[in-house]
Assembly symmetry: C2
Homo-oligomer: 431 residues x 2
């Protein structure tokens, strides 16, 4: 039997007889010769069928084959400078595994609703494949960095009894005779886990039932959340720099071709590296105002303010020391100015905005109890979380990096919905 390499491996098979399995991406009919562009998931290869070199039945099949049909080709690999990848296949044999019906996605422009309705087919197009490969690399690189830097993966639950950040944006699940909620963050559990392991991370889907339709929001998105015992705000920011830089550099090193397919200028990513600028909240408010946008001190940045801020940088940058009332109940107050919190978000440049939210958590039992009471949170549900301040509490910090926002920034996407295989939005649950 002939070897059956993937297109990515083809260079090692120059001059050899091989079998190639894949789908017809495009075809050019030149009368006595058919150019078949075959894709197999690892690349695209030009395959040439000459009428006077193959049996009549093979040539007839090559002529008849429709876009997206699945094929098994036999032939010889030969160098060809004009071919994508530098090699082409001189075809001897062709088996049509399945002759595709007329394919609904044409090279012409389609509306976004049509494309999202056909997301199961849309993902076959080179741009979407490239984005999803970058996504896979972002995830691989993130895990690699954490695994190699002493963080233990501890998966936190998806079905939870309590809300981290209020109940209005929670998805409710019927849990037999009880009610559960889909997680919005694994952080509270991470805080239990660091008391065992020192440094941990969770990595999974998270959910926000928000009735918003911005280009930055999904109802279901993936988040990686590292958490560290004995680490304070300043040290945490340094760790984030290393982490984000590693991700960007791995994408550049391993998915350069995909960035090219997407049309992303790699120079914008090549300059990313420590140290990222650090902007105090007070200063950030001033920056927004100077650009002519209204903003009251004490408010959180909305999408327009975030975009304005973020357009002023070509590196990711921290905004730190947000007012306590902008942030969740568990944020450690600044001992110097208790109206501020020891928090830091990381914003991507070029207008992309927040990709990481994080900060130092309250370590003192009394302060945490007070916060839970002030915010009318159900104390009973937080008893286990309070336990963490009863038995060996430590200063600790953590952050959550949103995968789709990071992919959207790295790929230079206008809308986050292309950064996830099957987006879930306000009116979209299909396919």
């Amino acid at each position: 039997m002939d070897p059956s390499p993937t297109i990515a491996e083809i260079a090692s098979f120059a001059g050899k007889e091989i079998t190639l399995k894949g789908w017809l991406y495009q075809k050019t009919d030149k009368g006595k010769l058919q150019f078949l562009l075959l894709r197999d998931g690892t690349g695209i290869m030009q395959c040439v069928v000459l009428e006077n070199e193959v049996p009549a039945s093979v040539y007839a099949a090559a002529r008849k084959v429709t876009p997206e049909s699945s094929l098994i080709l036999r032939g010889t690999v030969r160098p060809d400078k004009r071919a994508p990848g530098g090699y082409e296949l001189a075809v001897h044999g062709l088996e049509v595994v399945h002759l595709a019906q007329e394919y609904p996605i044409a090279p012409k422009e389609h509306g976004i609703d049509f494309l999202l309705d056909h997301r199961h087919l849309w993902i076959r197009t080179p741009r979407q494949m490239a984005i999803l490969r970058v996504r896979a690399e972002v995830i691989r690189a993130a895990r690699e960095w954490l695994d190699n830097n002493g963080f233990v993966l501890v998966d936190t639950p998806i079905l939870t009894p309590a809300a981290v950040e209020g109940t209005t944006t929670l998805f409710e699940v019927k849990y037999f005779e009880d009610i559960a909620y889909l997680t919005q963050s694994g952080q509270l559990y991470n805080e239990a886990d660091i008391m065992a392991f020192g440094k941990v991370y969770c990595f999974g889907p998270t959910f926000r039932a928000e009735r918003s339709k911005t280009r930055r929001h999904l109802l279901e998105f993936w988040m990686v959340e590292p958490e560290m015992a004995f680490v304070e705000l300043e040290e945490m920011m340094g760790i984030e720099e290393e982490f984000v830089t590693h991700i960007v550099r791995q994408v550049l090193a391993r998915r350069g071709g995909d960035l090219e397919t997407i049309g992303r200028d790699p120079r914008k990513l090549q300059k990313i590296g420590p140290h990222f600028p650090r902007v105090h909240y007070d200063e950030a408010v001033e920056m927004v105002r100077k650009k002519g946008e209204e903003m009251a001190w004490g408010d959180d940045f909305g999408a327009p303010q975030e975009t304005i801020l973020s357009q002023g940088f070509d590196q990711p940058f921290f905004v730190h020391h947000y007012p306590e009332k902008c942030k969740a109940f568990y944020m450690e107050p600044d001992p110097q100015r208790p109206e501020l919190s020891l928090s830091a978000d990381l914003l991507a440049p070029e207008g992309y905005g927040e990709i990481i939210g994080g900060g130092q958590r309250i370590s003192d039992l009394k302060i945490l109890e007070k916060r839970i009471a002030e915010q009318n949170l159900p104390r009973q549900a937080f008893e286990w979380y309070l336990d963490l301040r009863r038995y060996g509490s430590v200063p600790h910090s953590g952050f959550g990096l949103g995968i789709e926002r990071t992919v959207a920034w790295i790929c230079g996407l206008k809308h986050i919905r292309e950064a996830i295989p099957f987006p879930r939005t306000l009116y979209r649950l299909y396919p």
Copy 2:
């Protein structure tokens, strides 16, 4: 400032002054000397405080410190053959970060309900930490093998409109004015993704709302699901062998100390390797009957039958060609005996039973349409899935490996609930 290594790194600091941060695991009071066993998540270290070598205040603090208190110790690392790890810390300075209240988990035996109610603290005990470290390694190794073997990670959605395997065991989610269900498997989406990428995997939480209380079931569990275009049943089984063997060998190579803590005999794992025995369903039924257990041909194996079968092997083994009616609607029928399906489950030895379910999927549009009609599935919801058979259908196969079952087998656990950080069972949603 002194360096602040982790306990795992301590050997490189012999003779040096260091700072050590962690929690008091145990203490022995010898009158003029305190032995503190400090744990920091990477190991446990013996730290010695001598009354006549430290200031009176330091000695008093060492004497007073309670189990699970968080501490910062300063001292000199010195070799000591009697100490766990071969080094001890001669303490000069001690800071009590937080003096723990009386710790509820004592070295004595506790009931399982008490331990599960205190899971956020229970995970600090060496055995639970060791199990969760093995879990992290199972996941890392699984991803590593797939990433290095041409599989692209494509995350499939958690919120889905349709059910893969019937609606009775689905968790229902209020999705604004609509209803969504929590995924039971990413497989159907994987099948769309292979038509783009050739080989893919998804890896995430999956959910089954089963009212069962066996030692093998969780309502929320993690599953890795590889799927491959142009791969048929036989080839798939070979791939599973390589995959499972890699995971076991990585755990042996990297988490040997944890297996020892758990009390798992590594020799049972050292023998795991290709090829795994392959048992036809017909033959498996005979094996069960020979051991004196009743079983009708055509039935699926229940827990008792699975345990009996699995006790007869010391390697994982395949049971293949299950009757079509035992399996889901998408299973490819055996062309020779259409009452059978091209399916194969992988069962772990020593009575553990199924860790993988898998098989070849129907590639023909007409056969799939017929199955959907026969099983009264909502055709409309499957239109996108049928599309995959309209546009370049190919023979394809895939499987799903349950993480908790695999961890339970590798660690030799009696109950699956210890194989996940925060188990979700019929009556347990807290903490």
